[in-house]
């Protein structure tokens, strides 16, 4: 099957198993929300999928090719882009430099310029701040820049780690709406890791609930939202 297929993925941090035999699949163009509390293993999952963590066993395939064991820079070239936790921009660089960074692996600079122009069209506020340092942006703008940087690489699979972290409720709403628009417009496959269960499931096709390193439930997002037992146990609303 094309898309993302994760099969019995385990990740260890030294002696501790942070993820145990996690399996799920995401079809091309789908948005999967990975939900769980702090320390459930959500970030560990994304770090394994983007090559940052290679203490893995099991398998994870993207469009029928194995991704576990590959380096992050190789996976970027295969269309997998990871926006790590906490507005991952480089504060010391300008907005423009952060965006250029997204396409720095390309040998063709004009491709990157075109991709940056598209990103600026999606996030006009970045266009007005190109020469400012990323440090001067607000929290929401930083998150846009982080996502924008990932988009400059023209990914097929976007891994988003807690884009709502530390943002005001109104801004969170905007960010989720933006993610939803983006993936439809660009046909992206998205794995969205969130503690903010409700907002994430609302824009997701499928949901995967992780607790203590294991998948405890998965299925259509709309069904998970309505499941009273899950709501009480894991979704917290």
């Amino acid at each position: 099957m094309s898309g993302l297929v994760v099969n019995r993925l385990s990740v260890s941090h030294g002696a501790i198993e942070a993820l145990r035999a996690v399996s799920f699949s995401v079809e091309v163009g789908q948005l999967a929300a990975v939900i769980g509390s702090n320390g459930a293993g959500k970030t560990t999952l994304l770090r394994a999928l983007s090559g940052l963590n290679n203490q893995t066993s099991g398998s994870a395939q993207w469009n029928e090719r194995e991704i576990l064991g590959a380096r992050p820079d190789a996976l970027v070239r295969r269309g997998i882009s990871h926006v790590s936790e906490g507005k991952s921009v480089i504060a010391e660089l300008s907005v423009k430099e952060n965006l250029i960074l997204g396409g720095i692996w390309r040998s063709n600079k004009s491709d990157t310029s075109a991709a940056i122009a598209e990103v600026v069209e999606l996030f006009p506020v970045l266009g007005q701040r190109m020469s400012q340092s990323a440090d001067s942006l607000s929290g929401g703008e930083r998150q846009m820049l982080a996502i924008g940087r990932a988009l400059v690489s023209r990914p097929k699979l976007l891994l988003l780690d807690e884009p709502s972290l530390g943002l005001a409720p109104l801004v969170i709403e905007q960010i989720f709406a933006t993610i939803d628009q983006l993936r439809r417009k660009l046909g992206l496959t998205v794995v969205l890791v969130e503690q903010n269960a409700m907002s994430a499931l609302e824009i997701a096709d499928i949901g995967i609930i992780i607790n203590l390193g294991e998948v405890v439930a998965s299925g259509r997002a709309s069904e998970l939202i309505d499941d009273p037992a899950l709501r009480a146990a894991y979704l917290g609303y």
Partner: protein, 298 residues
């Protein structure tokens, strides 16, 4: 008044060479978090190679080109063959902090012995590419010569080239991104290990230039660049270790300051002066003169 100006000029020339060494140390520190004591050894080896070429061809500039190339190769080699392996094995705990620094000290000794075995311990000299006679001013001459002008010009060109690479090219962006946020750089598709090796090689090349310029005015021996390392290091600390601009400013301040001590107080106080500055900066402004709050500068 004339003495003040000539002291300033000589200080500028001396400080500009410190600036290269200081810049080399900062480049490595930023990318790898290692205070690279082997930098003196790398520069020395490069300078011996440059000396060999310059004395055979009788063209200083050809020697300089070879010293730059050798410096780049040796720098890349040190990172590739030593630092990468070291960081793979010593990943945490006190060993990870201490091992790289001790390793660079060991490497300095090793390079020194290899150079000693190959070229012997006696002093060598490279024919200066310009006159070392001071300019005449009025009835007398000042100790500022054509060579000093050439040194300042060469250093300026090197600094502009490095600034251009860092600020205007994708390689420079990759170098800065890898230094500031290695993980984000990796996620952006940068091969950070390779980028770091390139950083070491630029540092090595810059160190090679420093060695050649110092030697053009002096002698070359397996120990002759130690002082340059010490002053380069003090300058880097004055600049805050993080900032390339700071390292250059720190070096010029130090060069001029020490020359004033030399000319107005006496030779015996130059060392005391240098180390007093080091200690003062560490006590009063440990983040260096360029520190502004918590922000880091390119």
């Amino acid at each position: 008044m004339q003495k003040v100006i000539e002291t300033l000029l000589i200080g500028l020339s001396t400080g500009s060479i410190y600036a290269l060494m200081s810049l080399a140390l900062v480049l490595v520190w930023r990318s790898t978090r290692v205070v690279n004591f082997a930098q003196a050894g790398q520069a020395m080896l490069s300078t011996y190679i440059g000396f060999e070429i310059a004395s055979r061809s009788e063209i200083f500039w050809l020697g300089l080109v070879f010293a730059i190339a050798a410096g780049a190769l040796v720098g890349a080699g040190v990172d590739y063959f030593f630092m990468r392996v070291l960081f793979k094995h010593a990943t945490s705990g006190p060993a990870a902090v201490v091992a790289p620094v001790i390793a660079t000290l060991g490497l300095l000794g090793l390079i020194r012995s290899i150079v000693g075995l190959t070229w012997g311990g006696e002093f060598k000299s490279i024919e200066a590419p310009a006159s070392t006679d001071g300019f005449s001013v009025g009835d007398g001459t000042i100790p500022f010569s054509d060579l000093d002008v050439l040194i300042i010009a060469t250093v300026s060109i090197i600094l502009i080239a490095v600034a251009y690479i860092f600020q205007r090219t994708n390689l420079g962006l990759a170098l800065r991104a890898s230094a500031y946020a290695p993980e984000i750089a990796q996620l952006a598709g940068i091969r950070t290990a390779r980028t770091r090796t390139i950083g070491w090689s630029i540092a090595g090349a810059v160190g090679g230039v420093a060695g050649m310029l110092v030697t053009s005015n002096n002698f070359l021996s397996p120990y002759s660049l130690d002082l340059l390392l010490v002053f380069g290091f003090i300058a880097a600390v004055i600049g805050g270790l993080e900032s390339m601009v700071g390292s250059v400013i720190g070096a010029l301040v130090l060069g001029i300051g020490l020359t004033f001590i030399l000319n107005y107080v006496g030779t015996s106080l130059v060392f005391i002066g240098g180390f007093s500055v080091l200690i003062l900066v560490l006590l009063i402004k440990p983040d260096g003169i360029m520190a502004k709050g918590k922000a880091r500068r390119a």
